[in-house]
Subunit: 630 residues, 2 copies
C-alpha cells in the first residue's frame, strides 16, 4: 500500500552545519499525525527549560503532515513551532501556499533546526538532499528579492522559498515567516527565531509527491468537496476573508480605535466588496485548493504603490491597520500589508501595537519627541504606514514598538499598560470578546497567546435554536445564547478547540476543513480524508484526541516554563463599547474568572497553575512529558 | 421520519398506586440514549442522598434504549438501576431475552418505580396502558410458576415477565431480576429492591415495535453482522460462554478453591465442550439475535433433576459454583443454576459467598454448629446445592450468607474477612486479576463493585504485538504486555470501559457489540447502528462520551453517598497462586496503588476521594449533578 508520508524527519544542526535523517515508526505518525503536534514533540524533547528564545538552544521545527501535498482542497499548509520570543511561551504559526506541498515533495515530513549558523545561511532541500548554503548576499534583502535570487542561483523557477525578511533579521519580536512573498506563519514571532539562527530561508523542490493509500476514495472526496464550495461558502471565495469587515460591523464586532468600539463609521471603505470592486486584480490559491480565497491587489497612484507580488490584505490586516487604527484607506492598508510581507512582519501584532501607540500618543503618554515627530494619531494614514517601516527596520520609535505592545508598555511606563489589548504577551486579533464571549476565555488560556483560529466562533453557533448538524457529532445539540458563559458554552469552545487543534496537526486549512457549517468539509470528511490518505481506520474519537494531545503538549511546554496559568484580561475588555449594536457591551470580571476555572477544570488542567494534570497527560500518551517535569 | 424510541417514560408510584407518563425531548434521548445512562438520570434525580436501599425512597428504573427491539442481533437487553442493597452504592444490572424487545413494543422507553406497594402487586403494561394488579397469589412462587400464572390470568402466552423470585421477596442482598425464568439482571441485589417494594413482576406485551429511521441501512447492517458471526466468534455460538472454562484453565485464570489457584485439575468435567456433549438440549437466544449463545440443559437421574425451563449455566456460574467451590459435577452446578433462576439469585455472588464460607469452614471459622450440620467443604456437591436453597429461603446458615460474603464476614468476625474476594461489597466474578491485571483496578474502581463486563480483558489485547484494528480507533496501537500496569494499560482499560459503558446505555450485548476483535460488530458498526436507528448523525466521539457520561453519573451517585473512593484489594490478591501457568503470580500492592491513582487522575476523578471533578461533570453536560452536590 502506498503511504502519504515519507517517514523521514530532517534534522539540521546550524551551529555545526550538519544534517541527518531520523525515521520514526508508523505509530509515531499515527499518534501525532504531523503539523503542530509533531513540531511540539521535538520542541518538548529538544528545547531546554528556560532556553532563550533568541539563543541557539531554541529549536525551530517546520512540519507537514500525513495529508500534506495530496490533491485536495485545503491541505497545503505548514506549521512552525519554537519557543516564542514574543511570549516566552510556546510559539506556533501555520501558513498555506505552495511551499508546504513542495516541501513534502522534497522528501521530508518535517525539518528540525537547532543551533545558530556562524554566518547567514539558507537551507536547500531537493529530492531528499539537504544542503546549507551561504546567504550573506541575501541578508537584508526583502522577501520578493531574496526569493528571486534563490530561484535564480539554483536555476529552477519552481523552487518554493520560506524565509524571513529584514524584520526577522532585526529580531523584531513579531517577525514572521513568509513563503511565496505573501503567505505568513504569522504569529508568535517565529521570524525572529529564524533570524537569531542566521537562517535566511528554506528553499524546497522535489518530485516525491505523497500518494494516498486509497487514491479513488481521495478523488471522490476531493470532487465532493469542490462541488460543496459554492453551496457552503457563499461569497467567501469571491470576497475572501475581507468580507468579514462588513459582517463584523453588522454585529458590532469590528475592532475600532484600539478596541474601544465595535463599529467603524467608514467600514465600507475597507470592506471586501469594496476591495473586489476597486483594487483586486486576482484571486490566488494554495496548492490543489479550489477555493481561491487569497487576495492580490495592484495599486498605482493612489498615494501608495503596491506590488501585486505581495498579495493583498486579509480581514485581520484590514481591521488591525484599518478600523482599529481609525483608517479607512484601502491603499494605505494594502501598503502596510505589502510592507509586512516584504519585511516579514505579523500584520496582527503590528497593527495592534500601532493602535496601542496611537492611543498612547493621543492621550499624551507618547509624545512627538518619543516618535521623532511622527504624529501617531488614529486615522493618520501616512503615520501608520511609516510606523510599519520603522518597526520593520527598528528605526526610531520603531525600535520600541518592535518589541511588541506589551514589552513596549513595560518599557514606556506612564500608565500605558492600561491601553494594552493582548494576552500572554501577544496582541489580540480582530475578533472581539464583547460580541463573541468565548474569545475572552480562549485568548487568555490559549497556550500561544491571543489567537482567533484556535476555536469556533461562528455566529451561527452562538445564538438560539438547534446547533447545526456537524456540531452534534460533539454532543453539542443546541446553540447557546450569545452572551452566556456557562459550562455548555465553555464545552463548545473546548471541543471546537480540539478540532482546530487537530486541523493544525494535520496542517489543513480551518476554512476548508472545519466544524463550521460553512466549511466544505466537516468532521465526517476528516475521517474519510485521513483514512484515504493513510489507510489507518481512524475514528473521530481518535482524531479529536490528536487535537487534544497537541493542545496539552503546548500547555505542558508552558508549564515547564511556569507560564501555564491563563493570562488576565486587559482592562479594556471591561470598559463598555460605544456605538452600534454592541453599544455598552463589556465583559464581567467575575463571570470571566468563573469561566476560566470552568475551562481549566474541563480541560483536565490544574485550576490554579493551569498545568495539565498527570492523568490527562498519561491519558493522551504523554506520560513522557510528565516524567520530565517530575 | 420514523423513530426508534417512543419518547415516553412510564412513572409508577407504588405507594399511591398511581402511574403517569413523561415525554422528554429528543435532546434527552440523544444525550443519554437509554439503558444505564437513562436509568441513572432518574436515580440521581429521584433517590435522596442516604436513602435506605430497601426503603420506599429507593427508585428502581427498568430502561431500554433508542435501539432496543430493532431486528438485529444483540439489541434485546434491559438495564435495571437502583441504589444497591449489597453495596450501598449505585446498583446496576443488564439482562437479555425477549422481555426487553417486548417491553419496548408495549410502548415505553423506561419504567421508573418508586415507593412501596401496601401489598404485593405486579405491573402489567400492554400497548401503552399500565396497570398495577394484585400479586398476593404469586408471592412466594418460584419464577417459572409465577410466569405461567401471569400468562394464564392475562390470557396471552406471548406476555414476557420480568420478576423476582422468593429470594427477592426475602430481601436476599444478591437477589436478582429474572425474565423468561432464565435471564438475569444479575448483580448488585436489585431483586431485593423490587422485593422491598412489594413488586413481584413487570409483565409486558405490545404491538408498537420501534421503527428504524433508515430501515434499509439497518437491514444491511444486520445481514452483514449475521454473516460475520461464524468468522469472528468461532465456536462461541456452539459452546457459549461455557467454553471459557477451558480458555481460562489454559491461561491459569480459572478461579479455583476461592481464588487460591488459577487452575482446576478436573476443569474438563465442567467445560462448555463437555456440557455440549452431555447435557445440552438446546441453544436458546434473545429477540432477533442470530448468535444463540444461551444454554438449555435437561438432566434427569444424575443425582439432580434440572428443568430445562431454567436454562443452563453460563461460564460465570460454572466457575463460581464449580472450580471455585472445588466442584467438578455438571449436574450439581446446573442444579445450583436452576435454583438461582427459580428463586432469583445472582449466581456469581451466590457462588462466591459459598466459596468464602467453604474456606471459612475448612479453616474452622465456621463450624458444623453454625451451619446446622452442613459440611461446607470444597468439593461437597450436596452441601453446595443445599447452601443455595438455604440462601434463597434465608433458612439456617443461609440467613447469614444471604447478606453476601462481606456483610457475613463482618457479622461472623473470627478473622473471616481475610478470605473475602470482593470489591465494594460485591463478590468478584470468575476472572482473575493475577492473570489479567486491569481487572484488579476495574474491580476496585467500578462504581457498582467488582464486575467483569465493564471493560475489555480480551487475551488478544493484553500481550505483545500490534493491537487489533478496532482498538486503533481509540488510539490504542499496540498490545501491552500482560503484567504491565503502566499508563498505557490503564488508558486501555479506561477507554474500553467507556465503550462497555456505552453498550450498557444502548442496552446492547457486549459479546455481539464489542471493541473486541471477536465481536461480529465493532465501533464502526455502533455508529452505523445508531445512525440507522435514530437518524442522528452520531460520531464515535459522541458515542464514547455517552459511555463516559454514564460512568461519571454512577460515580457521582457514589460521591453523594461518600462512597466514591476505590475499594482496597482483597488480601488474597497479594497471595501467590499455586499451580499451572499462573503458579506464583500475585498482584503487587505498590504497583496497584499507583495504578489506582493513574486511573482516577485519567478519568478526571479526584485522586483522593474518587469523586468526579466539577470540570469533568460539566464537560459531560452533568453540571446539574455538581449543582446538587454543592
Amino acid at each position: 500500500m502506498e503511504r502519504s508520508y515519507h517517514g523521514k524527519i530532517l534534522h539540521v544542526d546550524l551551529t555545526g552545519g550538519r544534517t541527518w535523517v531520523e525515521t520514526p515508526p508508523e505509530s509515531f505518525y499515527r499518534k501525532y499525525m504531523g503539523g503542530s503536534a509533531l513540531g511540539l514533540y521535538y520542541a518538548l524533547k529538544e528545547i531546554p527549560v528556560g532556553a532563550d528564545p533568541l539563543g541557539p538552544d531554541n529549536v525551530l521545527v517546520l512540519s507537514l503532515s500525513v495529508v500534506t501535498g495530496l490533491p485536495i482542497s485545503g491541505q497545503s499548509r505548514a506549521t512552525a513551532t519554537a519557543k516564542s520570543p514574543l511570549t516566552g511561551a510556546i510559539g506556533d504559526g501555520q501558513a498555506g501556499g505552495f511551499w508546504p506541498a513542495e516541501a513534502k515533495a522534497a522528501g521530508y515530513d518535517a525539518i528540525v533546526m537547532k543551533g545558530r549558523a556562524p554566518k547567514p545561511v539558507y537551507l536547500w532541500i531537493h529530492d531528499g538532499q539537504a544542503e546549507l548554503r551561504d546567504a550573506s548576499h541575501l541578508w537584508g534583502k526583502i522577501t520578493g528579492e531574496a526569493e528571486a535570487l534563490i530561484r535564480q542561483e539554483l536555476g529552477d523557477k519552481r523552487i518554493e522559498v520560506l524565509q524571513i525578511g529584514p524584520a526577522g533579521e532585526q529580531l523584531v519580536r513579531f517577525a514572521c515567516l513568509i513563503n511565496m512573498a505573501n503567505r505568513a506563519n504569522g504569529r508568535t514571532g517565529l521570524g525572529a527565531v529564524m533570524g537569531s539562527k542566521n537562517l535566511k530561508a528554506v528553499a524546497v523542490r522535489g518530485k516525491d509527491r505523497p500518494r494516498a493509500a486509497d487514491p479513488e476514495a481521495l478523488q471522490r472526496l476531493a470532487k465532493w468537496g469542490a462541488q460543496n464550495i459554492d453551496r457552503t461558502m457563499g461569497t467567501f471565495p469571491l470576497y475572501g476573508t475581507a468580507e468579514t469587515v462588513g459582517l463584523q460591523q453588522a454585529s458590532g464586532g469590528l475592532p475600532t480605535y484600539n478596541f474601544r468600539q465595535g463599529v467603524f463609521d467608514r467600514f465600507q471603505d475597507i470592506d471586501g466588496v469594496t476591495m473586489y470592486d476597486t483594487i483586486l486584480v486576482k484571486r490566488d490559491t494554495c496548492f490543489a485548493c479550489a477555493v481561491r480565497c487569497k487576495r492580490v491587489v495592484d495599486i498605482q497612484g493612489k498615494g501608495f504603490e503596491v506590488d501585486p507580488l505581495y498579495g493583498g490584505p486579509e480581514y485581520e490586516t484590514l481591521a488591525m491597520f484599518g478600523s482599529n487604527c481609525g483608517i479607512a484607506d484601502l491603499a494605505a492598508i494594502s501598503k502596510a500589508n505589502e510592507l509586512c510581507n516584504k519585511y516579514g512582519l505579523d500584520t496582527i501584532s503590528c497593527g495592534g501595537t500601532i493602535a496601542w501607540a496611537m492611543e498612547c500618543f493621543e492621550k499624551g503618554l507618547l509624545t512627538a519627541e518619543d516618535t521623532g515627530g511622527l504624529e501617531l494619531r488614529f486615522g493618520n494614514v501616512e503615520a501608520m504606514v511609516e510606523a510599519v517601516k520603522l518597526i520593520a527596520t527598528r528605526q526610531g520609535i520603531g525600535d520600541l514598538l518592535a518589541e511588541g505592545s506589551v514589552r513596549a508598555a513595560r518599557k514606556l511606563g506612564r500608565g500605558s499598560e492600561r491601553f494594552l489589548v493582548a494576552a500572554r504577551g501577544q496582541e489580540y486579533p480582530a475578533h472581539m470578546p464583547a460580541t463573541k464571549r468565548t474569545l475572552g476565555v480562549i485568548y487568555s488560556v490559549n497556550p500561544f497567546g491571543a489567537d482567533h483560529m484556535s476555536h469556533e466562533h461562528d455566529p451561527e453557533i452562538e445564538g438560539e435554536g438547534p446547533a447545526h448538524e456537524r456540531l452534534t457529532r460533539f454532543g453539542i445539540l443546541n446553540r447557546i445564547p450569545m452572551h452566556d458563559m456557562g459550562p455548555d458554552k465553555i464545552r463548545f469552545a473546548l471541543y471546537t478547540q480540539y478540532m482546530y487543534s487537530l486541523a493544525d496537526s494535520l496542517d489543513v486549512c480551518q476554512f476548508v476543513w472545519g466544524p463550521a457549517s460553512w466549511s466544505p468539509f466537516g468532521p465526517d470528511e476528516y475521517i474519510e480524508f485521513v483514512r484515504a490518505a493513510t489507510g489507518w481506520p481512524v475514528s473521530l474519537f481518535e482524531l479529536i484526541k490528536v487535537g487534544e494531545r497537541r493542545l496539552n503538549m503546548m500547555q505542558a511546554f508552558n508549564a515547564r516554563e511556569g507560564l501555564a496559568a491563563p493570562d488576565t484580561l486587559p482592562p479594556r475588555m471591561f470598559e463598555p463599547l460605544s456605538g452600534g449594536p454592541s453599544d455598552g457591551w463589556a465583559l464581567d470580571p467575575e463571570e470571566m474568572k468563573q469561566a476560566f476555572r470552568t475551562y481549566l477544570s474541563m480541560a483536565g488542567w490544574d485550576v490554579e497553575t493551569g498545568a495539565p494534570t498527570r492523568g490527562k497527560l498519561e491519558e493522551l500518551g504523554l506520560g513522557w512529558i510528565a516524567g520530565r517535569t517530575g
